[in-house]
Structure formats: structure tokens, C-alpha cells
Amino acid sequence: MRGATMMRTIAGLAITFCAGVAPHALNAANPPGAPSVILIQNATVLTVSHGTIEHGSILIKDGKIAEVGQSIKAPQDAQVIDAAGQFVMPGIIDCHSHIAVDGSVNEGSVSVSSMANIAEVLDSDDIDIYRDLAGGVTAANILHGSANAIGGQTVVIKLRWGQPSAKLPFEGALPGIKFALGENPKRSNFSLPGQPKRYPATRMGVEETIRGAFTEARDYRKAWDDYNKRVSAGGKNLIPPRRDLKLDPLVEVLEGKRYVHAHCYREDEILMLLRVAKEFGFKVRTFQHVLEGYKVADELAAAGVGASTFSDWWAYKVEAYDAIPYNAALMTRRGVNVSINSDDAEEATHLNQEAAKSMKFGGLSYDEALKLVTLNPAIQLGIDKRVGSIDVGKDADLVIYNHDPLSAYAVVQKTVIDGRVYFDRQRDIAQRPERENEKKALLEKEKKSTEKKPDAKKPEEKKPEEKKPEEKPKPPALVASTGGAL
């Protein structure tokens, strides 16, 4: 963390031409002969939905959980994973991520960028997919940035490393749209000398921008409804309303076909959006970050919205100054469905640890803490019928630790998605010498080719890190001008 992303940005801006021999090339993520029947046995099974099973077993068939129990006899054709002394929990679901995006996450030129869609720019080669997978993450909500009051469209993915981009989206998961309130959409921390201010520049303007957009969307929807009515009534020679790519997703919000994930911090802006949503008759699905959610927990609970927050980030900007690590626990106690998210590729590698902190700060129970990164985010993303707990019939999205996952001493051993082992720590370690050699060979080849042509252009250098998670408190400084999705 630390210096996490910014370090990498800085690093990326520097030197290094690298051959990019990521685990990707060699990872047998999807071996053709992968057994369709797997039995994990002797594990401490943290089901999340129905307690802990000591020395438990999980039978996986065709990518689904077929059986969970104390002792399951291995079918003849099963691959057996002996997890003696180890812990199995549902795969971690990260409700706020910016990994696997090709380029910037922000279409920041306009205040309403609902026409932009993150799903169109998924990058299956992003190494952060693998790193987060190695941290036990199996699904993530990939969001547009927070530069706009109404931002771009979002997509839920599974971290199927090694598969093409088209295979990443979580089948059947409802798409979303990013909203953002407060300092980011009003560009408080991003103004540049000589650059004109973009509307909105106040929280009043943020509200107005959203109301304005939904006013348009409502009229647009009505125009289409009228047109469709006339068509079904047999009208002839009718001219359809002009298609508006900005308003289409907002109509989907009004019709409950697209989730609203609203980035926010302060209590007042949280209530503001609830009022606007009520006025226009749509639902906010989740408030993201929602660091002052604890101040209006009753209101959040009454509205039935989810809250997806950080474990202990604070003080990187004014609206994060009242952030407290008790937020998750306080909101949970008042009946809000809460998840802990990452917003950052590094943070996502240890969400299990971040969830554990809610036991210390606010006294959540062990199972409540586990839910913060499994079942609760699944509910928030509307995918809880498929994932989030270890139950028969659910997708076999699991993570195996060598130790209690709600501890700083646990290391992920295997991550399983759809019943396939996508990450295996032992396999990763075993493949390292081979990758090292491959890299050396590539560098050698490159060196030779440049030696032959002394005037040749320098080899392609590593492309600088372009994605910027939106909050980015880590590391020091810089926040003042760039600390966020630009």
C-alpha cells in the first residue's frame, strides 16, 4: 500500500524495458483436460451462510458446488484436493475495482458521461487481474471513475485470468452505472492553472446535474413510450424519437434494469441522492465509499441501499476526514448491508484482512466480518443466487488459505472460479524459474536485434501505468493535484 499505485505510476514513468513475461503466458488457467469433478476435503469450510464446518468437504461438479458436508466420498473420476489444516471460504467479491481496464477509467470531459461503458474496454491482460486473483478475489465490480456526477456504465466480471476479455463479464449480472458526489465530480482537488472550471463546481451543482439528466431521461422515455404506443395501435408513417446514447442507460435506471453505484463521502450528499432518487422513482443500489455512512445509517437502512466502504482509509482529503474504521460495523448494526471494497489493485489483494478489522473496530462477529467481502457484496451486485457463500448449487468460486483468512498471517493457496483452479501458489512458484529464463531469452534477443541495427529505434518501453483508482490516498503527496481518477 503502500506506495502502491502511485509508486507504480512513478515506476512506470521510469526506465525499464521489460519483456512482460507475466504468469499469463504459462499459466495453465484453463487446462483443456481440467477435471470437471473436484473434491476438496479435510478443510475448515467457512460457508458464510450456515456456519463453519470443521474437517469439511466440498464436492464440485461442472463448475458448481454439488455437495458440502463433513465427509463426502470421492467419486471415482474426481480430482482430490487435500486441504488438511487449511481454510476454504467463498471467493472474495470486490464491489469497487478498476482493474482490467484498458487506459483511463475516467471520461472526465463532461459532467454526464453515461454514454461511456467500461465493458467496452476490458483488458484481460492486465496483470492486476492475476494479482487480485492471488489475493482470493474471484469477482469484481469494474467501475468507471468518479470525475462526473453521472459517470460511465459499469460491469461485473469474474477474474478468469487467461481467458479473453469477452469471457470476463459475470454472465447475467445486471450492469450498473457510476454516479459520483462531492469533491471528485466538482473537481475540488483537480484544478489546473489556466484550465477553466467545469460545471458543476459545488455540491448544489452536482445535485442539479443529476436532476437535469433524469428530467431529460424521463421526457425521452415518455417520447419513446408514446411512439411505441402509437406503433402498437397501428399508427403508420411514424417518426421514432431520436436515439440518445447518453439517456438510454438512464432510462434503464428508471426501469430498474441498471444498478446505480454512487461514489460519495458526506452524510448530506448521501441523503441528497436518496431524495433525488425518490423524486424520479429510481433506486440507488449501492453507495460506494460512503465514509460518513455511519452518520446516516438509519436512513440508509430505511432506503434499503447497500453500502460499500473502505476498512480504514482516511484523511487523504477533507471529505475523508471524518472517515472512521468503525464505519462498516456501525452501519451493519443499524441494519445496512455493508461490504468492504478495494478501489485499488493492491488493496484488493488483502480484502480478507480488511474485513477482519471490523471485528476490532466495532465488534462485528466472525461471520459478519466474512460476509463483508463475500455474501454482502454478492447481494449488492445482485449475484447472490450464484456466488457469495458455500452452498449447493452455487458457482464453485472458492479460495483456499493456509490459515484463518481473518488474520494477517493467512496466505492464499488456491483460487477457484467455476470449479477451475485459476490460481495455485505452488504452481506459480514452480513456474518462476521458467518465466525467468523466458524473460532472459527475450531480453537477449532484443539486445541482439538492437546491436545489429545501431540506429534502430529504442525498444518499446514499458507503458506507463495509466489507470488511476479514484481516491488514491496512498502514497504521500501528489494528491493535491492528481490524487484521483484524472
Binding site: 507504480r8 526506465i15 525499464t16 487523504y316 472512521i324 493492491e346 488474520s407 494477517a408
Partner: protein, 449 residues
Amino acid sequence: MKGIFLSRKLPYLFWLASLLCFVPFAAAQSQPSGTVAITHAKIFTLAGNTIDDGIVVIRDGKIAAVGASVDVPAGAQVIDAKGLQVYPGMFDAITQMGLREIGAVSATVDSNETGNYNPDVVAATAVSPSSEHIPVTRASGITEVLAVPASGGMDSFGSRGVLGGQASAIHLTGWTIDEMLLKKSAAMVLNWPEIQTRTFDFATFTRKEKPYSEAKQEYEKQVNEITEWLERARHYAQALEKGSAAKYDRDIKLEALVPVIRGELPLLLFADRAREIRNAVEFCEKQKLRMILAGGSEAYKVKDLLRAKSIPVILRPTLTLPLEEDDPYDRLLTQPAELAAAGVRFAFASFDNSFARRLGQNAANAVAYGLPYDEALRAVTIYPARIFGLDNQIGTIEPGKIANLIVTNGDPLELTTDVRYLFIRGQLTSTNNRHKSLYEKYLNRPKAQ
């Protein structure tokens, strides 16, 4: 106007005067002379054996006695720590404590001075004792930190400074900086230049690219600049030694560098890449400077060199992602174990106020990836103390040391452990803080209508 100007200047002049006379910045503060005995505790002294059921006696801010069969002095305040554990308080070796309150609000940020060469600025000058970060941090069991100017991050113009100023070691409590001060000048920050072919222009918000030869030239130019500063300081020191200082104009920047070139004050040298670390080590050896490496993402690549030259490392948080996409995903997590096995001395640090309370978590994560537990514990207590020459004062539980202790209900590196009592300079210090207060306030909010 003039009056205001003068009154603003005056304290600074007084401070300078005190610096010149080599008067200690903070004279020993009077401490309450109360005696405290922590009894029935499991004591991890980190100096010899762990005591399963022992007593720590604290008097006049110091540890007076520790052992299994120590007498509780008459009249001592007794803290029954049955079932609890006592450890030395943790030491976060790189923070901007008191220098940075809210990262995005420049008015609250005093960690990065303008310009590249500011060896005379001292963190202690600007540490705000009322920073909310201080009680939040100490509640996690950290009793002292290094407040470091220009500590690796960039200011809003993309500059991180070169000779960034002097880091101060401070206790995490005190009404004034004088009460907080452990060591005013503990290290001189040097952000070692990097060869950068790709840079980011903050004025225009665009990426710039230049050929390697040009980037290398710029790098060498910066290294030459540093060399020049040190040479000038050396000449200045010689002039001082010959007693002819009066003949020269005083130069407070060069004066600040004199302890550095004399090898009295170590450089806290920020570098992450192996190439830069190698160059810096060679440079410091040639210049006869004491070097503490900070950052060290690729320290494992130069571990033999670091051990041979006995250069300690303040490691960037272990949770940090690797520099290269083809590095093993756990590169920084396994590094501490690798360095320990190679005999490289190191300490953990947060590098960032807001994440200071993750210090223990970072150490524990290194244990998960192979570092012996005892080494991890030492790397957040006695090792950083030793690296900054404070090990005769803090870092272990031994008679005569400053009583910076924590009493916990478990492993202080674990995520769920609570700090029950906290002693700084022998004073029982509150673990209440902004976060706890807000928690209690809103816990008691009546149900909304």
C-alpha cells in the same frame, strides 16, 4: 507590516540561534514522578527471554525494573495485566506525522518544501502536536515515529526534493514539540535521483518521453549537484575547523550538511530500483557518508551489497505491489524474509500517516511469507531504534530505557488485537482518538424518525 514580519521572524531566529550553539532543541522535560507497576503480565522484553508472569516497574518516565520476581514499590499505581501481554511500543520509521493532516489540502501540508535543496529544514519545527493523526496512530500501539520531510512523495508540482531536510524522532504524545521530541535531527533526507525516460509534466498534465541518453545526462547532472553541495559543505566544515568561520558568510544550508559529511548524521536515502541503490551505495562510500536506505523495493537484488556495506533498509510496506508486471506477485511480501536470511538489517515503516496503523499488519504479512516472527517484531521496535541510534533509549523493555510500552490482549501485529494500555515516557496515555469519539457519538445517535 514590518512588525508582523519581525514577529514572524523572531521565533525562527531564536531557533537558529539555539541550533548554532548546539544547544539541545528540547532540554529534558520534567516528568511526573509517579511510579507504576504492571503486574502479572507476559512480558516480551525483546532483550533476553520472554517473562511469562512478570512485573514492569516504571518510575520517572523510565523503566526502573523488569522481571519475574520484582517487588512492587510501595505507593505505586498497580495495573493488573493478568492475561495481557507487554511489548515495547512500536516505532514507525517513516511518516509525515504532524506535518501532514489532510493530504489534498495544501494548507494542512508542511511535509514538502519548495526547491530541491533544503538540508536546513527540520521536521520538528513544523510538527503540530494537535494533529489528529497522533492519537489515531498511537491507539494502534505505535509510541514513537520518525517525522520525515520530503519522504518519497511528490508535491503538487511533481517535485520530491533532493536534499529534503532533517527527519525528527518524536514520541506520540506531548503538549508541545519539546515534550514530544526524542531526537530533533535523526537523519538527513536524500531523494536519490532516478534515470527517467518517461516523465509526467504537471504543468500541462502530459507525459513526456526522452531518449535514455538524455535521461541519463539529467540523472548525472543531479548527482553532480549533490556532489557539489557536499563538497561545498566539506570546505565549509574545514573553514569552521580552522576557526576562521568569522571570515566567511554564514551559510545555514551548508552548516546543516556538516554533520552529514562528518558521518555524524546518516542520510535517509530514498531509492527503490537496484540500479539506483547500487549507484547510491557507491556514492555514499566514496563520499564517506552514512546511508540508511528507504524504500528499497528492489533491495533483494542488491542484498549482498547491502550486507557487505552494512546498510540498513527502511522497507516500503510489504503489501505494495511489485514494480514490474513480470515480478512475482508476492515480490515485496517475500523480500523481508530474503533480506533477513541474507543478513541485511531492516525495519518496517508505513511511509504514510493515514496508514501508520497498518505497520503491524505489514510486519505480520512478511511473517506469513517466511520472515521469522521475532524478526518481524524487532523490525517494528528495536531495529528501527538501532538504525537511528536510539536503541539506548527505546525499543526494548530494559531498566534505564524510556518507558514506551504497550499492554495488549494479544499479538500486536495481528489485525484484531487491542491495545489496552499505552505508556509513553512512562505516562499512561489515552488511546482515545478522533475515530473512537466519532464512533461513540454516532453509536449513540437515537434511531432516526
